[in-house]
């Protein structure tokens, strides 16, 4: 692209074209396909830069906010690890390291099957849509809070389930366990909940509980059963 064309495009984007330049710009737009494409590219690029910068600013603002509890949790976790070390429970530590590895290789947040995000849909507003939007964007801290509020309001098992997954994604599986245990057999997320429960128990080093849940998943014979069988085999092999 010629350099004077770039000047025209930049002037157009910053709304600073002179009357004469405007004429030239419009002429090129209607006659020169390549120029028109160049303008379209620049416009998109400008939007992309703006979105990038906004995201960066938000991330920066988040660091300015008073620290939430996650940091504290880390300290508790660190203290717990230290405690086990001092007690000399090497065997148990060994197991928990292996099982933790298994946890990380199997854990993946459950897809959002409740509120697929379609922004143009006017029906989709409210905290529920917002919660799932955060969940999909990986903003689990926010999602966790929102699902907790939703569950308090509506007592829907699905919200509790997604809150638990958000917690696990935040590495807070111990807190997720009691939530997952509340899923009843007739709830639609029961089987998935058993699968995540197994992973959470593994993370917490409770292998027998984990196996118990995995066997349930296997017996249910649903879409998670093959994964459950794989994980059970791996547990046998790490023995």
């Amino acid at each position: 692209m010629k350099s004077d064309q770039e000047v025209l495009i930049d002037g157009y984007l910053s709304n600073s074209l002179t009357a004469l330049q405007k004429q030239e710009f419009n002429k090129l737009m209607s006659e020169d396909q390549q120029f028109a494409e160049e303008v379209a590219f620049h416009e998109k690029m400008k939007v992309a830069i703006r979105l990038e910068e906004r995201e960066r600013l938000k991330a920066r603002f988040n660091t300015l906010d008073p620290q939430s509890n996650t940091k504290k949790m880390w300290w508790y976790a660190a203290a717990a690890i230290l405690f086990f070390g001092i007690m000399g429970w090497w065997g148990s530590a060994q197991f928990s390291r292996d099982s933790e590895n298994l946890y990380y290789s199997y854990f993946e947040p459950y897809p959002n099957v409740v509120e697929p995000i379609v922004r143009s849909d006017a029906e989709q507003s409210g905290l529920s849509a917002q919660a799932f939007a955060w969940y999909e964007k990986g903003e689990y801290e926010k999602a966790n809070d929102a699902f907790a509020t939703l569950f308090e309001e509506n007592q829907k098992a699905a919200d509790l389930f997604y809150q638990a997954i958000s917690l696990m994604a935040l590495d807070r599986s111990a807190e997720a366990i009691p939530l997952l245990e509340q899923q009843k057999e007739e709830d639609s997320f029961y089987e998935a909940a058993q699968w995540y429960l197994a992973l959470a128990y593994l993370k917490e080093g409770q292998e027998s509980q984990a196996r118990f849940c995995l066997e349930r998943v296997r017996e249910a014979g649903g879409f998670l059963s093959s994964q459950a069988i794989d994980l059970l085999n791996e547990l046998d092999n790490t023995k």
Partner: protein, 185 residues
């Protein structure tokens, strides 16, 4: 020029710390104010952050060169406007009276398409932008987001001449095109 106008000037020139100070100084007050509308704290924080960004972009666009009122009043006018927008979308609550109408006439709120509405091309461009070197990212950001002139960028980044900045910018765009082309294949 009063103290607050100088503050705004500094932000326009690139002093992010001052923007951060505005953010921190007014956050709690805004949270308290917005809680009356039964919103979740996280939602309020989102609205507040978006308001600060609108405020910042208006400074960059040179719309707040002279202040008719304090920074805080401006910021809250934007914040309330954003809050009303949000509550309307929710269709849940009665909208509260909005007294700062004439203030808002001086402010433009650049609505951006939500991420889901954008076509794939923008997403690809964003990925491409992140692959560029820091120099390129900086030049493009200063020129296209902060609206700085080539001379200002030259001064701030210590380039030899305005033309060096210009050719650097063209080079970065070419590089971006190449990256985007590679993703699209």
């Amino acid at each position: 020029m009063n103290k607050e106008e100088r503050f705004v000037q500094d932000i326009r020139k690139g002093d992010k710390e001052k923007l951060e100070k505005i953010y921190s100084d007014n956050r709690d007050h805004f949270l308290t104010f917005a809680r009356k509308y039964q919103l979740h704290d996280e939602q309020i924080k989102d609205i507040y952050q978006e308001s600060i960004i609108v405020f910042y972009e208006n400074i960059l666009d040179g719309k707040l060169v002279t202040l008719q009122s304090s920074i805080k009043t401006y910021l809250f006018a934007i914040g309330k406007y954003k809050l009303i927008q949000y509550l309307r979308k929710e269709e849940k609550y009665d909208v509260f009276p909005f007294e700062e109408k004439d203030l808002l006439d001086h402010i433009s709120i650049q609505e951006m398409p939500s991420e889901e509405e954008l076509d794939g091309k923008t997403a690809v461009l964003r990925t491409g932008l992140r692959q560029l070197g820091p120099k390129c990212q900086e030049v493009l950001r200063m020129f296209y987001y902060e609206g700085k002139k080539l001379e200002e960028i030259q001064m701030q980044l210590g380039y030899e001449s305005k033309d060096t900045v210009k050719s650097q910018k063209s080079r970065c765009i070419r590089q971006l095109k190449k990256l985007v082309g590679a993703y699209e294949k």
